[in-house]
Symmetry: C2
Subunit: 138 residues, 2 copies
């Protein structure tokens, strides 16, 4: 029977504290070290995998590796999405009701159940778009 270790608690607590902010395994390691409760990377990956499989957190894949986020509610993510800017690398988290009809359509017409907590759009934020345009006009 599994039991709870202080590493597990520290990892989950850290993710909760940073809610809405995607963290990489390395980010987590750094955070935990700062908090005075360092945890080995192997353990961090193991725990992240476990937390993900139980639905406590969700994983987002990007070019530079994976990021993890705490899920507040069971139904969290129903209309939530992430935007990743290709310019500055930032990941922004927001809610949007426009996703609902799309998900329903995919479910009914294409028999595909979207994992709503892992939706990630790639593109450009306003700042980076402006920078690109300036660049192009030179």
């Amino acid at each position: 029977m599994p039991y709870t270790t202080k590493q597990q608690q520290a990892i989950l607590a850290c993710l909760e504290r940073k809610q809405g902010q995607p963290l990489s395994a390395a980010d987590l390691a750094a955070e935990l070290r700062q908090d005075g409760s360092p945890v080995g990377l192997a353990t961090i990956y193991r725990q992240l995998e476990r937390l993900e499989s139980t639905g406590c957190i969700h994983k987002i894949n990007t070019e530079q590796g994976s990021y993890f986020q705490y899920c507040t509610h069971a139904e969290d993510g129903a209309g939530c999405l992430l935007l990743k800017c290709e310019g500055c690398g930032r990941i922004v988290h927001l809610d949007c009701s426009y996703l609902q009809p799309l998900y329903e359509h995919l479910e009914q017409e294409h028999h595909f159940t979207v994992d709503r907590r892992r939706t990630l759009f790639t593109g450009l934020c306003a700042d980076c778009r402006a920078r690109e345009e300036r660049h192009a006009s030179e």
Copy 2:
């Protein structure tokens, strides 16, 4: 001044031939080897990067690495999306008009321009969902 090499042509031709089917760099290498025109992996990555920056192809990030797809038209992707099944790993490509209002909303309200060719939803296809349910009920 850049010139065209047979490796470049072979890579692009292969991507065109496999349209709608995302290929990894390794897939491409295997294809090209079979075609009798083997190309080094370093070159494949270099060319994929170039083709992506010119907009000829687009890149999709997954847990297992990146995949690349040929873009038919400049405006391709306006309503196209990719579904990646977490169960079987398949990537399905389809068109869907439900994306349009969402993109417009993100553009106007959140000042975020989505790169429409890189939209990827993660979830479960019908087959894998059925399998999961069978599993859970045991």
